[in-house]
């Protein structure tokens, strides 16, 4: 039996930075904004109506609530901008997901590591016709890659593609070292 071990030229490897990415649905930004609005409204109401015994604090309570509301608005606006910049890419051997505004993170999940795929959606996401796609690998305690902001049709197509790839692999559940 012959064994080849040719050297790889790093310049010839498929470049992650040049992989074309598809923006997620434009409906993600309003959906996230609405979810955050509900969340921050609750916090602002608590900050406003929470019974305070101290007189000075009670005087400042509306201003404190206004400050929290201001912070909430900043978070919602940043979240909106961030959601508009999210993108994903599906290559033959891996799945790429880029997110983040100030701190940008690109995550790549090789498809050979995939164990199973799930789609999730809460009532607000369903209103906007959005679905989350959770990808799990072996031994993980949660989703290793959570793709947010896919339309239902696109999520189903990506899921079917991933499942087809999973089925085509000899033993997708086993780690690489199953082969001696």
């Amino acid at each position: 039996m012959t064994f080849d071990n040719p050297s790889l030229d790093p310049e010839c490897l498929p470049a992650l930075e040049r992989a074309p990415l598809t923006p997620v649905s434009r409906r993600l930004a309003p959906c996230q904004a609405l979810l955050r609005l509900l969340h921050w409204t609750f916090i602002v109401v608590v900050a406003w109506v929470f019974p305070v015994q101290h007189e000075l604090l009670a005087q400042w309570q509306p201003w404190l609530a206004a400050g929290v509301a201001g912070l909430g608005i900043v978070v919602i606006v940043l979240g909106w901008l961030e959601a508009r910049r999210r993108a994903y890419g599906l290559r033959e051997h891996d799945l790429i997901y880029r997110r983040g505004l100030l701190v940008r993170r690109t995550q790549v999940l090789p498809l050979v590591r995939l164990q199973h795929v799930e789609t999730l959606s809460n009532p607000v996401e369903r209103t906007f016709g959005l679905v989350r796609l959770a990808c799990f690998t072996a031994g993980g305690r949660g989703a290793d890659l959570l793709l947010e902001g896919l339309s239902s049709e696109r999520a189903e197509a990506v899921k079917q593609h991933l499942l087809a790839r999973l089925a085509a692999m000899p033993d997708a559940t086993s780690p690489e070292s199953d082969t001696p």
Partner: protein
Amino acid sequence: MNPVQDVPTERLALSGWQRLSPWAVGLLLISAGATLVRQHMPLLLGAGAGLAMVERVGLRELALGGVLLLLVAGLLSLLYYRRFRFRLDDDVLIVQKGLFEHREFKLAARHVQHIALHQPAYMRPFGLVLWEVETLAGEASSIQLPGIRRELADALGRGLRSTDSATVKGLPADNDSAPSDAEQAVVRYAISPGGLVLHGLTSRSIYVIAAMLSPLIRPLERWIHDRLPQLDLQAWLPESTLLAIVLGVLGLVIVLAFLAVLAAWWRFHGYVLRDDGERQVQVSGLFARQEQALSLSRLQVVEWVQTGLGRLLGRGYLVCHQFGAMGGGGAAESRRFLVPGLTTEQGRALTAVLWPGLSIGQPLARVAVIYRRVVLLRLLLGSSLLLLAALGLVGPGGLAPGAWAAAAATLLVISTGLAQLRWMAVGWALEGAHMRIRQGLWGQRTSHFPQQNLVSVGIQQSWFQRRRGVATLQLDLANGRLSLPYLPERVALTLANRLLASVESGQAA
């Protein structure tokens, strides 16, 4: 008995339903009862609650209730014994159990990643062991047979292993030699008493024990406060308060070190690591003996760990990680496949055995120098907040201006030293098909893993990092995430592309 010839016979015997040992059920009942009593002891005895209950209910009624409870427990145990059964159906282990909810587990041999045998002291006279098997899903998915005969456990292990290796190597299952007998195995490492003591001193047990004993501080403090004036200790306590504090801390450290050494003896007494070809088997334990078998084909990451004291004394230990062994800290780490009390040379030699073909020769490349500056800035920010807090507590007049300046200078020097140590500790190297990553500060952890064992890759860049042209490379492995912070952007991307190519081409091949 020759296991080579008897594997098919064993398999035939295991294909019928097997049960737990009746002794095991009795022992489980006793140990569960003892745990229940121990957990509810404060409730029963605390503040005379138990006595009050006896007076209210009556001693005879209480005894009758106890007998009734025992009867119910006995009946439930009998039911548990009848429900709990297992068998090996070709290469699938089937376990049925459950008192009120019937559950059936099916585990194919090819999904087994780890088999362990535990033998607590109270099971030893009966020749029983606690058998545990873990799947690729990790620790959370383990299945236990809580009390079977040793021979049955060995046969079960051989049965699962022979089909597994047949699957891996493409051999017919009946042809498998299952090299499990100790005669064929080579002893790779056996710990010496000195090594055991040094492991106790240099492992993380000392911190784990300190954390476990921390709830005792308040009662101890109360006891000292109440009893110290009556004991007339002034005669032998040093007059200097500072000296007394130093001696007190020293005494505490000595006690903790002693307990850590005891813990090392308890867990690793008689430690032997045998090389059984594709498997590494370790046996250890003073009272509770345990045997763990690590399949090299399931190994994902080997970690060389040295605490600060360990680096001074030239000692460390190896932790072998498989899938699903994430987090849990020092206590969880000790449950994993751990080779204790190694010198640096022994650690290197064993790593080469675990990863055949690995040569640790490449010098570690450091991350960008800017990382040191970032760490320094973070530490300085923390130090400034500390100083401000102190200023708020004692006021500007609380200390002389010189003392404030000295404190600031000391914090600056410490921060600079820590930033330098942190930067020097982080490093990486590509060793052929393997990768080596070191992290830490004073104590260090070095991970060795084949590049194709990577689970996923992430590249993170903050706004500041983008301006400076650096990036943080995050590598997700079977045992969690490793980060290489502040790599030059080009290097991070090249590394990511190369690692992805290794994973994807490795699988395609």
